[in-house]
């Protein structure tokens, strides 16, 4: 077993990203959807950090970028949860399929 | 005289109409404006002839004025007039004045009606005097909404359908024109000026493509077969003045564009497609005439007959001979006046009988002799009786077509001439049916003959067709140098 290299990590992050997407496409609970998005964002973080470490060791932009992503993701989650709560008030449910009134 | 006056008068009139308080004021304002326009147009004719005599160079565009509008994008307020333009302006002013008079009995939303009518006229005037393709396209499109609203608000029958069909089909034509203009722009040194574009030598391939785009695009406006189906529905649903304008002017925009833009700028394209144009227009002539025979509604009769008549001018253009093209222009002008008169009379009849079906009318000669006479006159003009403009122009087209000495050209000329019989059949069928026979007094309506306004409208237009019909020389002299120039470009290939 060799030490994990860039491609391992990239593969992992890609898998993570796909998992997130899969969750986003299939889950019905809004909170879970949000969590799936977080997974996707985390895969991006992983990417950035890995690139920093393996490809551009002399730079730190990726690192900082991932920090900002985490912060913004938190804000986003907060807002999303607020909206979901609002949705719960109006729909009495946080099932995404309950909110399909707007279409066509 | 500034040519911009031609644009300013309708705009000012529209503004004045907007400020009017009562319907009566609106009508008089519109009438005054349109008469002023008529006066200016007639003055323009005389000034033009004088100017041309002074300058000596016959094919010059006179009264040119050029102001930057969006000059960075090649857009100039560039106007100018040549002989054909002057003829078209005269035609438009005649129809406008007559249209205002013929609309005197409008009671519903008078102000809006006249506003839209003036806007429609503005579009036509602007189109004819534009020397910049952008400006030309601007004015061409300007009339979309007025046309649509005139039909959909004041129209009759299946007006929504007709208005939509008309607007959309014309938009289709505009789309093709737009593309053609853009192609010219990019390949012609980034300019919209007709004058500059006329000096560019375009490649044959490009000429063919752009010519097809422009000719079909303008062809939709002028009811080129098979793009004519907006005509019957559109004309029949429109209110009287609307039909007068649609058939009298709007269709001519297309013909003018075909000639002065497509053929003038792209002579090689014209040569290349000449046969196709001829075939399509002959089909249009015969087929329009045959389809007219089966119509029962007066407006449909005139609409289909317009398809047939306007195809004559396309035929003349396709023939590419001096005489034929001269005839084509004359036919445009002649048909414009004639069909406006026809629609005006149909409107008068409809107002009195409340029907346009020929089988429901009879013996109108007895009950409304003036209207019947005018109806008959316009019918005679339509079937090409000497003394009226239709004869002169159609004969010129046919004579010009005969100049082409090949079996194909001769055959189509004979076919086109054969339509004169069909025209006679449907015109006389309609005329004898509704004018002659025992008078059928429509029930409770006290039928009156035309009133003064209607009479004036009819007399104005009748004077036009008789004037051209009896003294065509002034018109040919007016347009001859410009046609010669087009011919020179075609022959120069």
């Amino acid at each position: 077993m060799t030490e994990p290299g860039l491609y391992h990590i990239l593969t992992l992050s890609a898998l993570l990203f796909c998992t997130g997407m899969y969750g986003f496409f299939t889950r019905r609970n809004l909170i879970t959807l949000l969590m799936s998005v977080e997974l996707m964002l985390n895969s991006v973080n992983l990417n950035l950090v890995a690139f920093d470490r393996y490809v551009w060791p002399e730079k730190t932009e990726g690192l900082f970028f991932s920090l900002f992503i985490i912060a913004v993701a938190a804000a986003e989650a907060a807002l999303a949860i607020a909206i979901i709560i609002h949705l719960y008030r109006t729909h009495k449910s946080i099932d995404v399929q309950e909110a399909e009134e707007l279409k066509y | 005289m500034s040519l911009l006056l031609i644009l300013i008068i309708p705009i000012l009139t529209a503004g004045a109409v907007l400020l009017c308080k009562t319907d009566e004021q609106v009508k008089w304002t519109a009438l005054a404006g349109s008469l002023a326009q008529l006066g200016v147009s007639v003055a323009l004719y005389f000034l033009f002839v004088r100017e041309r005599a002074i300058t000596g160079q016959e094919s010059l565009i006179l009264f040119e004025e050029r102001y930057p509008l969006l000059s960075d994008a090649g857009i100039f307020l560039h106007v100018g007039a040549d002989g054909i333009t002057v003829g078209m302006i005269l035609l438009t002013s005649f129809v406008l004045a007559a249209g205002v008079l013929a609309s005197w009995n409008i009671v519903y939303r008078v102000k809006e009606f006249f506003l839209l009518l003036l806007l429609l006229a503005l579009g036509a005037f602007g189109f004819f005097i534009s020397q910049n393709l952008f400006l030309l396209f601007f004015f061409l499109e300007l009339s979309v909404i007025p046309k649509f609203l005139l039909i959909s608000i004041w129209g009759s029958g299946k007006k929504e359908y007709s208005a939509n069909k008309l607007a959309l089909m014309l938009m289709g034509g505009s789309a093709l024109i737009l593309t053609g203009i853009l192609l010219l722009y990019f390949n012609g040194g980034r300019t919209f000026e007709i004058h500059s574009l006329s000096r560019v030598v375009f490649s044959d391939r490009l000429q063919q493509v752009v010519f097809a785009l422009l000719f079909v695009g303008f062809g939709v406006f002028t009811a080129l077969f098979p793009f004519h189906t907006w005509v019957p529905d559109g004309h029949s649903s429109a209110p009287t003045a609307g039909s007068m304008f649609l058939a009298g002017i709007s269709m001519k925009l297309g013909g003018f564009g075909c000639l002065k833009i497509a053929m003038y700028l792209l002579p090689e394209g014209a040569l290349y497609f000449s046969h196709i144009i001829i075939v399509l227009s002959v089909i249009g002539i015969l087929y329009g005439a045959l389809a007219t025979m089966m119509q029962k509604d007066l407006k449909y009769i005139n609409a289909y007959s317009s398809v047939s008549h306007v195809a004559f001018s396309l035929l003349g253009m396709g023939m590419l001979t001096q005489t034929a093209i001269t005839g084509a222009v004359m036919q445009m002008i002649s048909h414009g006046v004639m069909t406006a008169l026809f629609f005006a009379v149909i409107g008068m009849v409809y107002e009195r009988t409340h029907t346009r079906m020929i089988q429901e009318m009879s013996g109108l000669m007895k009950t409304m002799p003036f209207i019947a006479t005018v109806f008959f006159i316009s019918g005679l003009c339509s079937l090409g009786l000497p003394g009226f403009s239709g004869f002169v122009s159609e004969m010129t087209v046919l004579t010009g077509s005969w100049e082409k000495d090949s079996v194909f050209h001769r055959t189509v000329t004979i076919a086109a001439a054969a339509s004169l019989v069909v025209t006679a059949v449907y015109i006389l069928r309609a005329t004898t049916k509704i004018m002659m026979g025992p008078p059928q007094l429509p029930g409770e309506n006290a039928v009156t003959d035309a009133n003064t306004k209607e009479r004036s409208a009819a007399i104005l237009l009748t004077a036009g067709i008789v004037w051209i019909g009896l003294f065509p020389a002034w018109l040919t002299a007016l347009i001859k140098p410009d046609v010669q120039q087009i011919m020179k470009r075609i022959a120069g290939l």
Partner: protein
């Protein structure tokens, strides 16, 4: 230091406004009768101010980049916001959270300003989020309104998804180029399969914001559910800003890939215009209709952008200015109609002309302008877009784009026809407020006059030249 203030003056102006709002909120003076006129005046000042003292330069270690052109773009957005504050007055007046509305809008606008000026992907991402998130909150602004909360949910989820995709693309670019500065990226981009994927991810994110088919699906739902003022913000300011950014991003970042990007953009253009038209055709709800109409407009903007030339800025900016007037007027009428009696359907507009001539004329003119029919300015705007697009596209594509004008004319005419339809659909009076009237008059004047205002176009051309 003066540079700092001068270069950041638009952003700082917004910050001042935000501070003002906060103070007012805290001090409890957030009642509509005071705050609304105050905000209207302040936004007007802000707009006028944004027109003055514009210069170019860089800040924050090159992450922030501004120029007179970019400043002008911001001024346009300022104008749009000012007009919105007039045009949606009656809705704003009714709203219980006026201060919050402005707080959120202004923050979002601040985000867009920074987005326009961003020269670094981090800046880009942050400002994009700053621009997007408040709007999601705004979408759910209607209290206890089912459709509104659904819209907000759809907005935030879609936005989060798209920003995840965008970030993934950015991370790939970082991995490939080793830099996140826009101006350094092109040189460092290597021929690599992942490059193209990264670029596609980025384009997709732009397309999402610009509502380009097939990334547009959220648009109609959100526009319909959200209050008209928010939808109009999305459709005018958001779209305009993203279009500006897209043009400069394409010009700055993706230069080496022009050859590959152009067919993609052209393909997206065609499908956007077509699908937008096809959907707009059948809409009965005015907000949904305007949503699809705005998708089609986005298609035309994309057509101009697809020429991938710096000059494409000119028609885009010019069009956006016109689009602001036309579209805001339409949205405003929709808002007045909606807030007076919750009327959003086509048949509610039947005979509007005979009930409120002013509103009807404004609506018709704006629709005419959107359809691109003269004498409305939309004709000029669309003309330049198509002209720009045609400069690079094949003739056949231009024909297709032009022929789509037929389809769009059809549905605009349908609405116009409805407005003039003579039915006695309703006798209730619909009265816009004075400010709304003022705003509509401004819009109508803009629609009628901008096309003939050659200096404006020349000014834009001059601005774009050094770019």
């Amino acid at each position: 230091m003066t540079d700092f203030f001068l270069l950041l003056k638009n952003e700082l102006g917004l910050c001042v406004l935000l501070l003002f709002l906060l103070v007012m909120k805290i001090s409890g003076r957030d009642n509509a009768s005071f705050l609304l006129p105050a905000m209207q005046w302040l936004l007007l000042f802000n707009f006028v101010f944004s027109l003055l003292f514009n210069s170019g330069g860089r800040l924050f270690g090159g992450m922030f980049d501004t120029s007179p052109l970019l400043a002008f773009q911001k001024a346009i957005l300022n104008l749009a916001l000012y007009l919105s504050s007039l045009l949606f007055e009656s809705w704003l007046r009714k709203s219980a959270h006026l201060a919050e509305f402005f707080l959120l809008t202004l923050s979002s606008l601040l985000g867009f300003f920074l987005l326009i000026s961003s020269a670094h992907f981090l800046m880009f991402y942050l400002s994009l989020e700053l621009a997007t998130l408040p709007v999601a909150a705004l979408a759910g602004f209607a209290p206890m309104e089912k459709r509104s909360s659904e819209a907000a949910m759809k907005m935030i989820l879609s936005a989060a998804f798209s920003s995840a995709v965008l970030l993934f693309g950015i991370s790939l670019i970082y991995g490939l180029a080793g830099t996140l500065y826009f101006k350094e990226v092109p040189a460092a981009l290597k021929e690599h399969p992942l490059t193209w994927l990264a670029v596609l991810f980025l384009i997709a994110a732009f397309a999402f914001k610009l509502s380009v088919v097939p990334f547009h699906l959220w648009t109609a739902d959100v526009y319909e559910g959200a209050p008209a003022s928010v939808s109009s913000y999305l459709s005018v300011i958001s779209k305009g800003a993203v279009a500006f950014v897209f043009v400069s991003a394409l010009h700055k970042i993706f230069v080496p890939l022009k050859g590959q990007i152009q067919p993609v953009l052209l393909g997206l253009t065609l499908i956007t215009i077509l699908i937008g038209n096809l959907f707009a055709l059948r809409q009965q709800n005015i907000k949904r209709f305007l949503a699809f109409s705005s998708i089609t407009q986005a298609g035309y903007i994309l057509f101009a952008i697809s020429s991938l030339k710096a000059e494409s800025f000119t028609p885009v900016i010019y069009f956006i200015i016109i689009y602001i007037f036309s579209n805001l007027a339409a949205w405003s009428v929709a808002s007045v109609m909606s807030s007076s009696a919750g009327k959003e359907n086509q048949h509610d507009y039947a005979g509007l002309y005979y009930r409120n001539r002013f509103l009807a004329v404004a609506l018709v003119l704006s629709l005419v302008s959107l359809a691109g029919i003269p004498p409305a300015a939309g004709f000029f705007g669309k003309w330049f877009l198509i002209l720009q697009g045609a400069s690079a596209a094949k003739g056949i594509i231009t024909v297709f784009v032009a022929l789509n004008l037929i389809l769009s004319l059809y549905y605009y005419l349908k609405w116009i026809w409805v407005v003039f339809q003579n039915t006695n659909a309703g006798s209730d009076t619909i009265t816009p407020t004075r400010m709304e009237k003022t705003g509509l008059i401004l819009c109508v004047a803009g629609i009628l006059l901008i096309g003939f205002w050659g200096d404006l176009y020349r000014y834009i051309v001059e601005l774009v030249k050094p770019f």
